[in-house]
Every structure is written in C-alpha cells, then in structure tokens.
Symmetry: C2
Subunit: 112 residues, 2 copies
C-alpha cells in the first residue's frame, strides 16, 4: 500500500512550504482512511510518493478519479499566514491504497 | 499549538523526497501525541514549521531536548528504496506542542 500526494508546481513554494503542505495532505488523507488500511500502511513503512500537479484543476480532477475508485482523497488549502494568499489550494492527498491501483491512477504524473 | 519538523540539509534531497520524509515525521510524531493534543492541533489547522538541521547529530540533540520538555519526538530513517542509502536518518518530528514552548526550543534554526 502507499499514498500519493500531488502538489502544485505553479506556486513557487519553497521546499519547506511544499513539505508542510504535503505533510498536511498526507495526514488528512490518512485520517480519512479506514483503520485496517491505516494499520497495514503503517506496518509496511508509510510509503509515500510526491508528484507534480501543474495547476489546481489537476488536483480536483485526480480527487474525482480517486473517489470514483473508492480511495479517500483530501484537498488542502493553505491558511495563508506566510508565502501564499489565504485559501490557496496547494496539495491533494490520495490513499493509502493498493500500489497497483494507485500507480494506475497517477502514472502520467512526474515525481516532484 | 504547532509541530516542528527538522530535516537534514546535508543530504541533497529533492523537494519531493524532502516532503515525503517531512510527512513521515509529522504523522509519526502526531501518532505519538495524546488524543487531547491531537484534537486541539487539528482543530487549529495542523500548523507545521519545517526547519533545517545541518546534520544528523542535530536531530538527536533536539530529540533529547524535546523529550526533556515532555514533547513527543520521532526520528525517521529512510527505507532507502530510491535516493538515499537504506537506514539514512532524515527528519525529526516534534510535537504538536504549545507554540511558545516549541518556539523556545527551535528558535536558533532556520526555515527550510
């Protein structure tokens, strides 16, 4: 099992800002998962991949696809205290889900 | 309340690799916290700061300081499937904890 986190590459986020938004998406999608999935994913080392989304529409598209496949997915908006405008959509957390299913969904995206 | 995640700046991690390791530390420290702290932190928007640690010894030093202050702290080792040697220590998640206490502990570190 693994998680995919999609992050916008069009916002000019610093590495630290990106990391905080990815962590927010990862935790939020984890919390939306069922406890059996949570347990298996943690036991197997919490595998995560971080992928580039060129704009916010891509995040909404992949959220829809994930949910059609019954995978929990959470969009994150930044609180806007620092680098970004308040309410800026930054990341999408998907899963944990089965590797093969998740790979099929996100196969066209590049690693961040 | 907030979380601090310290990440090594001497490993040459890509932004995506860094983000995945920070997310791992964030979730692991969250899971080590008591449920009241978890609830307050989530209600207040899961604030996180990502800070630079120049080497792995700094991670161990801050883990010790955090634990002396009764704040949960978790060191993350990379599974080493991709960019790093297996077992490389990458990040330290601290908290959630009170803003003022955490700021005092990490005030000498720079934002990532």
């Amino acid at each position: 099992m693994k998680q995919a986190i999609l992050a916008r590459s069009d916002l000019g986020m610093t590495p630290g800002k990106l990391a905080a938004q990815v962590a927010h998406a990862s935790l939020s999608a984890y919390l939306k998962s069922d406890s059996k999935t949570q347990k298996i994913w943690k036991r197997d080392g919490q595998t995560k991949i971080v992928l580039k989304a060129p704009n916010q529409n891509v995040l909404f598209e992949f959220k829809k696809i994930a949910e059609e496949n019954k995978i929990p997915a959470v969009i994150i908006k930044d609180a806007g205290r620092t680098q970004l405008e308040p309410g800026t959509i930054t990341t999408l957390g998907i899963g944990p889900a089965e590797d093969s299913l998740l790979d099929e969904i996100v196969c066209d995206l590049s690693l961040y």
